[in-house]
Symmetry: C2
Subunit: 118 residues, 2 copies
């Protein structure tokens, strides 16, 4: 095996062979989306430097932006201390990551000070 | 049910009743860690405004920082477009989120331009 790829085999994939991947704007730090990767999508991401995920809904490799044009140019790939999460620092082409047409998928906010719990 | 908590029931938990949660520094946008929450940890987080997760390794509710003192004060809670990921914008007490003693769990970097794939 290529020694440069040993780290992939040391990742902890779940029972479906997937690992969560966070996409963060490499410039302003905004979190744009969270998706899932398998070994193939990691390899394709490294080969192309464009983010590839695994679409759980479609059950297929997902080259992000292949149809919309909103590809993600990966500037840096990181993984965490226990090797079960990936972080992609990306340039989001078109500045739209969400399938709803907005920049970030995280547009639903629950204000912490407005809750009545009891 | 309290109408303010209906959104929790609309989240998509996995087969183990868990949902991934990203912890991001509320000031500089750094991603500090990714962990998992269940309904109970979400409720406890809302009640206390301190991050609670579900520890998959210990199989128990995990009040982050309860022993280390490195608690996370939650400034904002968001969830994504398809309701299967949570984002916590937090103040990291002690500026250490990782159990290894560093600020962020994402300290393993794979430079995109140094790979030899073929």
């Amino acid at each position: 095996m290529n020694q440069n790829l040993l780290w992939i085999e040391q990742l902890k994939f779940n029972n479906n062979g997937l690992i969560p991947a966070i996409a963060q704007d490499f410039q302003d730090g905004s979190i744009l989306m969270m998706a899932w990767m398998n070994r193939e999508s990691i390899h394709r991401t490294l080969e192309t430097t464009e983010a590839h995920y695994w679409s759980r809904s479609r059950g297929e490799l997902w080259h992000k932006g292949a149809t919309s044009g909103h590809i993600q140019k990966v500037k840096e790939l990181l993984y965490d201390c226990d090797r079960d999460t990936i972080l992609l620092k990306i340039e989001q082409v078109g500045d739209i990551a969400c399938h709803t047409g907005v920049r970030s998928c995280f547009f639903n906010s629950v204000p912490m000070n407005s809750l009545v719990l009891h």
